[in-house]
């Protein structure tokens, strides 16, 4: 802790603020602990609602991973909202990190090449891992109704594949592998098809997000009706959103340059 910035009138010093927090924290801890002490022993709770779902999900929805059944069927409408939270967050992020008036784009061929600073072992490992990572993402997304996983998890893994490309090569290579128009279209299509599958349920089966496809045998890849389709839609949307997030932050770091003499 070097020189503290000059204080304005009435402002607490760092140390006083810390002490004030510690007093408050003791009170908050006492409140939270006394509130939580009313809960039963965590080992003895029998989750009633959870028990019901565990008992019926495999029969009703042909889904062996009950968390996925809850996400994409019993709580499907909530997941629609969740998906649009991510969608809106990615949109606002693009808006916040747009190129401002006083900024300009740096030239890509002037970027420092990472080739010289990244060791051959790291580059080779990253490039070798790109394929398996994409495969893992597809596997996790498409087996969400059988084993733990689903669209949210698979989408994030797919986006890391692009990060591996950046780590293993350089920014210019990553940009070539990331057709922005396609990413944005995929993101919108993923979010839109979740709604469309829901509307199809409304038309065919009578209520929004109701399953309208044959359920199949539990434990088989093609089973569980609309759940794998919804999972795939979410996977595409999440992958698109995270690729967009990573690209925007990397753009800020590497491409967008402040004009000489500009800035605050």
């Amino acid at each position: 802790m070097e020189t503290a910035p000059a204080r304005r009138p009435g402002e607490l010093s760092f140390e006083a603020r810390r002490r004030l927090f510690l007093v408050g924290a003791v009170g908050l801890a006492a409140l939270l602990l006394s509130g939580l002490s009313g809960l039963p022993d965590y080992r003895d709770v029998t989750p009633l609602y959870g028990q019901v779902i565990n008992g019926v999900a495999v029969e009703e929805r042909s889904t062996t991973a009950v968390v996925t059944a809850v996400n994409f069927d019993y709580r499907g409408f909530d997941t629609l909202g969740e998906e649009f939270i991510l969608f809106a967050a990615a949109l606002v992020l693009v808006l916040l990190l747009r190129r401002l008036g006083e900024e300009r784009r740096g030239r890509l061929d002037r970027l420092p090449r990472h080739r010289h600073t990244t060791s051959a072992a790291v580059r080779l490992t990253c490039v070798a891992l790109v394929g398996p990572t994409v495969l893992l993402a597809i596997y996790i997304t498409m087996h969400g109704h059988l084993t733990p996983g689903g669209g949210f998890q698979g989408g994030v893994i797919a986006a890391t594949a692009l990060l591996l490309v950046y780590l293993g090569s350089d920014y210019a290579t990553m940009r070539r592998l990331r057709p922005m128009a396609l990413v944005e279209t995929a993101k919108a299509a993923g979010a839109g098809s979740f709604v469309l599958i829901g509307v199809a349920g409304l038309i065919v089966a009578g209520s929004f997000l109701e399953n309208f496809l044959p359920l199949g045998t539990p434990g088989e890849l093609v089973s569980a009706g609309t759940i794998p389709l919804l999972s795939l839609a979410v996977g595409i949307e999440v992958a698109g959103a995270f690729v967009l997030l990573l690209s925007e932050f990397l753009d800020q770091l590497l491409v967008i340059r402040r004009k000489r003499g500009g800035g605050a």
């Binding site: 810390r18 965590y42 989750p47 959870g50 008992g55 999900a57 029969e59 709580r75 992020l93």
Partner: protein, 114 residues
């Protein structure tokens, strides 16, 4: 010991808050906020736990095996997704603050400046 997971959740929450209050760098503040949020994961999963139970995945076990609560696990997934969105947005705001005010120290952010 029956209380341990709840106490751990309270502890994680308070440690994160301490980090937010004493933070000298906005990126550090944002990470501390996600520590605060992660206390809710511990709390949710503790609420759904059940003794001698398995994960709610019935692909290779009998369907009447006792399993933990899948509902709170699905809620935790929502929690994680929202947490990721919030962190990304806050980091973007931090990038803009750095650009406009040339600092990331919360103590130097004067609401009356400019």
């Amino acid at each position: 010991m029956s209380f341990l997971p709840y106490a751990v959740a309270v502890w994680i929450c308070l440690v994160g808050l301490y980090g937010v209050v004493t933070s000298r760098h906005l990126v550090h503040t944002i990470i501390c906020l996600s520590v605060v949020q992660s206390s809710t994961y511990v709390l949710l999963l503790a609420v759904g736990y059940r003794k001698d139970s398995v994960a709610p995945v019935f692909i290779d076990i009998p369907r009447d095996t006792p399993a933990v609560d899948p509902v709170v696990q699905a809620l935790t997934l929502t929690d994680v997704v929202v947490g990721g969105a919030v962190t990304a947005l806050l980091l973007a705001i931090a990038v803009q603050i750095e650009k406009h005010l040339d600092t990331l120290d919360p103590d130097e952010l004067d609401p009356l400046r400019d």
